[in-house]
């Protein structure tokens, strides 16, 4: 008996896709704020405006999705899990047949190690000391003792002028 997958509501589509993604290890806890999280209704509608998920059928004035759309969501999410931005995903998937989508999906699941390391976000502030000389201060920086800082700064400037032949006093 084949499951009746041609009659999903938007929520059911999201649930099915989420469950399948979990099953294949394509969803994980988000530590770095990236976007390979579970698909939700808003996301699916957004994918629709980009032609990546087919517009639903309308039955009794309600949107109904089918297996093709499940496949589309899975493929998008699987590629996002690999760290690909939506820009690339649209390039890769736009206008594709189901067989081709499956082929992409297979490629992802067969090579799960390809996942790129997460990108760590570092926030810095910039202080212009004089034109051409900037100081980058990482968030959470706490100054150590001032004298040793000044000493280190002098050493750095000395090293700079030695290498440039310039002489900032």
């Amino acid at each position: 008996m084949t499951p009746p997958t041609d009659d999903l509501t938007l929520d059911e589509l999201c649930q099915d896709a989420t469950r399948l993604l979990q099953k294949h290890g394509l969803l994980d806890a988000q530590t770095d704020g990236r976007v390979s999280d579970a698909p939700d209704a808003r996301t699916v509608r957004y994918y629709t405006t980009m032609g990546l998920v087919d517009r639903p059928r309308i039955v009794d004035r309600e949107a109904r999705y089918g297996w093709r759309q499940v496949l589309q969501v899975l493929t998008i999410k699987a590629l996002q899990h690999q760290g690909r931005p939506l820009l690339q995903i649209q390039k890769l998937l736009y206008g594709r047949s189901e067989a081709e989508l499956e082929s992409v999906l297979r490629g992802v699941t067969e090579r799960p190690q390809q996942r790129r390391p997460a990108v760590k976000t570092v926030t810095v502030r910039e202080v212009v000391l004089e034109p051409g000389l900037r100081l980058l201060v990482e968030d959470g920086f706490a100054a150590s003792d001032a004298d040793s800082l000044v000493a280190r700064f002098r050493a750095a400037v000395a090293a700079l002028s030695a290498s440039n032949g310039g002489s900032p006093s």
Binding site: P4, T5, V35, G51, P56, E98, L105, R116
Partner: protein, 825 residues
């Protein structure tokens, strides 16, 4: 609800469908989109622009492609020619009644021929479908249009060439049934063709590699041109003896904003003129441009002005700022005798006050303060807002000596134009409506029509651009026109041919125009009434020029008049439709009721009937800041370009089986092979989904022979499919030669049968599912278990297809025929 495991075969190694493969390759990046290039060449003379638009479609895939492109042309322009170019061959398009053109196109694509169809969805939104482009080939369509340019008494004139259809707000609730088009929105009760005017969007940063070439030639005829300025693009200008040529500096410009060119003609030549042209049958067409007399001092009535300000989500960012500032500037043009009200709308309408405010210093200050609080969000429910505004001006108590005015400031990006126009037509009363369009890619067709019906004028503003300059004339115009009740008369002149049937009233600074048939007249007398009651009277000679566009411009203006009546009078619609189709066929004119179709009968390029259907995704208009919340999905983790993926669709792995394929024409062997990747099933081509359109006329009748042929071919196919399914159930890999033969036979029977449009599910099954099944069986490494699963899944699809086929043979059609385009006039 049961899960969807069975369709996802990711965890079963050895289970290959084998139809097409997408591989991620590093390095070179190929864009897999149908549209390769867009060209626009405009020649302007005598205030008429003739524009040749070329669109080149490519097929980067390995199966036959149907490309669909939803695109804009300048609102109100007359599309008078369409052709398809294949290599050096030119196939002329013909104008047919729209239903018939769609049927012709569907039949040609069914038969495996190249074909192109051009339809009109709105005054400025069009769809080109280009079917059966063989792999690796290109097809170019060439569209000829003409438009009359607006101009002002200081000699300023403007050419606007739109290049992208902006996202439209779609009101209403989704409706059941086959969608009418290929866009991303569902059809609704309010916008029954929403799916035809909402192309998919490119993700920000996706370069679709569409080269854009725009060239404008201004023929000067000895006049001096000044202040040539292109407000949204960098251009190169070259000055010749007789002409000025302007072209885009770069062909890499994104297609995300209108091309807007303004220039000024030395004002000595600005007077009322009438130009004439005679066609080879001796019919004459004339275009009259009436220039208003110079006005001294202020003599208008006091005004009651309602500003209707769009603050929906699409206005977010600099557009909203420009709209609020434009409104504020128009407020400042009011005098202390005038009164105003402001209605800001998104999903609902909010009023500054529920009453009119005197436009004295205190009132203006309050208006400014209100405008500063307006921010953009929500839908674009213009229809109720306009209704409220018109009610407000009509329900004023003290009306004597005050002229009622509604000024609408919006990007006009809505889908229910027809309903809004109807509200205006019904409720306008003695009010006048003016429109100020604010966008980089404005819905100009709609805003022009709205203002024309409202007896006012339309102006367009570039967000962030020089508002003072663009609104300079609007402030003067709002309110009473200088001259009203314009009419024409003359010896041997057909006054009833005047189009628009009422010449637009003359506002200070702006010329009005109309078209008519002069028959044998050499002069035309224009008369009207100044606002103080004096008579306006001018006699103008008809100056003969060589401008064939005058014929199609007359026809277009005439059709616009008929469309306005069509919208208002349901009881006259049948007659009006006949008139429109007759004019359109006489003048080879594209309208809502007619379409251009071109069929290449020279060769059959897709005998096996595989089809991939791709809609060209388009840019978000420049300076749109919609859906910021969604942006997070566009800007995911940074990925180095070197690792960017590109796609190659590889040929199938079983080339050895080629012999069993039905023999395609040798020249197009590749494209005709049935063993190509199957196509998208969800967006099945227009060629296959014409179920809604039915056949109201001129369609071939269904004979007993058709019925028998179809039934036999279908039975043979069903039998072959059942046999293969049994094999797979028994754990064997099915032989598919018989199945493939039966499939091809059925496809060909259908192509010759009037039943073809009535069985979209079967068509889809034959052209996609069945192809996939056959290919999967022939793939190395296919497992019986995997195939069995596929057969079971597809068997369900086939059952629905069979039911549909039974109904079609029995003559019961799933849905009554209706022409969605009649709802959107």
């Amino acid at each position: 609800m049961k899960p969807a495991e069975s369709v996802v075969m990711v965890d079963r190694p050895g289970h290959f469908r084998g139809v097409g493969r997408v591989e991620c390759v590093r390095g070179e990046e190929k864009v897999m989109l149908p549209l390769a290039a867009v060209g626009m060449k405009a020649r302007v003379s005598d205030r008429v622009a003739r524009v040749t638009v070329t669109q080149t479609f490519q097929n980067p895939f390995t199966d036959a492609l149907e490309a669909v492109y939803i695109f804009p042309l300048s609102g109100g322009s007359a599309v008078s020619d369409f052709e398809m170019r294949v290599g050096k061959r030119v196939i002329k398009g013909a104008v047919k009644e729209r239903q018939e053109a769609r049927a012709t196109y569907a039949k040609a694509t069914q038969e495996g021929k190249r074909a192109a169809l051009m339809e009109q969805e709105r005054d400025d939104v069009f769809t080109v479908s280009c079917g059966n482009i063989p792999p690796g080939e290109t097809v170019t369509v060439v569209i000829e249009t003409a438009e009359r340019l607006p101009f002002f008494d200081d000699g300023m004139t403007e050419l606007r060439l739109p290049v992208v259809v902006a996202p439209r707000y779609i009101a209403g609730t989704p409706v059941d049934g086959e969608p009418t088009g290929d866009g991303v929105e569902s059809d609704t009760d309010t916008v029954p063709d929403a799916s035809r005017i909402t192309p998919p969007r490119l993700v920000e940063g996706f370069d679709p590699k569409v080269s854009l070439h725009i060239e404008v030639e201004l023929l000067t005829a000895g006049e001096e041109l000044r202040d040539v300025a292109c407000t949204q693009h960098a251009v190169r200008t070259s000055l010749g003896m007789e002409k000025v040529a302007i072209r885009l500096s770069s062909e890499q410009e994104p297609l995300d904003r209108d091309f807007v060119l303004r220039w000024r003609i030395a004002s000595a030549s600005l007077r009322t003129t009438c130009l004439g042209w005679k066609d080879d049958k001796g019919r004459r067409f004339a275009m009259l441009s009436v220039v208003p007399p110079k006005r001294d001092g202020f003599l208008g009535l006091a005004r009651d002005v309602v500003f209707v300000l769009d603050h929906s989500g699409s206005m977010e960012g600099i557009k909203m700022a420009s709209a609020a500032r434009s409104c504020s500037m128009l407020l400042q043009t009011l005098g202390p005798r005038d009164r105003f009200a402001i209605a800001a709308f998104d999903d609902s309408t909010s009023w500054m006050d529920r009453q009119f405010t005197w436009a004295d210093d205190a009132g203006l200050a309050r208006g400014d303060a209100f405008l500063r609080t307006v921010s953009a969000d929500g839908g674009t429910e213009l229809a109720p807002a306009l209704g409220e505004a018109l009610d407000a001006v009509l329900k004023r108590r003290e009306t004597s000596g005050r002229s009622p005015v509604v000024v609408i400031l919006t990007d006009g990006e809505v889908g229910d134009e027809s309903g809004i126009l109807r509200i205006l037509q019904k409720k306008l009363g003695d009010a006048r409506a003016f429109t100020v369009g604010i966008d980089t890619a404005v819905n100009s067709g709609f805003l022009k029509r709205l203002a024309a019906l409202g007896g006012g004028t339309s102006s367009f503003v570039t967000p962030g651009g020089d508002l003072e300059d663009a609104l300079r004339s609007v402030g003067r115009e709002i309110g009473q026109p200088l001259v009203t009740d314009l009419s024409i008369a003359g010896n041997g002149l057909d006054a009833a041919s005047l189009a628009p049937s009422r010449i637009p009233d003359l506002f200070a600074g702006r010329a009005s125009a109309a078209h008519f048939l002069p028959t044998s007249a050499t002069t035309v007398r224009v008369s009207g009434r100044f606002s103080d009651g004096r008579a306006f009277d001018q006699t103008v000679p008809i100056h003969e020029i060589d401008q064939p566009a005058l014929a199609s411009l007359w026809a277009r203006a005439r059709v616009a008049d008929l469309e306005d009546q069509f919208r208002l009078h349901p009881e006259l619609q049948a007659d009006l439709k006949t008139q429109i189709v007759r004019i359109a066929c006489e003048h080879t004119l594209l309208t809502r009721f007619t379409a251009f179709v071109a069929v290449d009968h020279a060769e059959i390029v897709n005998a096996a009937g595989s089809s991939r259907h791709v809609v060209q995704p388009v840019e978000m208009p420049a300076k749109w800041e919609m859906d910021k919340g969604m942006r997070v999905f566009c800007s995911a983790a940074p990925v180095q370009d070197a690792e960017c993926a590109s796609i190659t669709t590889e040929p199938l792995q079983f080339e050895a089986c080629c012999e069993e394929a039905p023999a395609p024409s040798p020249k197009n062997r590749k494209s005709a092979s049935p063993k190509k990747p199957a196509s998208r099933s969800g967006l099945v081509g227009a060629s296959l989904s014409f179920r809604d359109s039915g056949r109201n006329q001129e369609a071939p009748t269904l004979s007993d022979k058709h019925r028998d042929d179809f039934t036999h071919a279908l039975e043979a196919f069903a039998k072959a499919l059942a046999a293969a399914r049994t094999e797979s159930r028994a754990g064997r890999i099915p032989q598919t030669d018989v199945l493939e033969e039966a499939r091809v036979a059925l496809v060909q029977t259908l192509a010759a049968s009037p039943l073809a449009p009535d069985v979209p599910l079967l068509q889809r099954f034959l052209r996609q599912s069945a192809l996939e099944l056959v290919a999967a069986c022939r793939t190395d490494g296919a497992t019986a278990a995997g195939l069995h699963e596929m057969f079971e899944h597809h068997a369900r699809l086939f059952e629905s297809a069979l039911k549909e086929a039974d109904a079609a043979v029995a003559g019961q059609r799933g849905r009554r025929w209706w022409a969605f385009w009649e709802k959107t006039v």
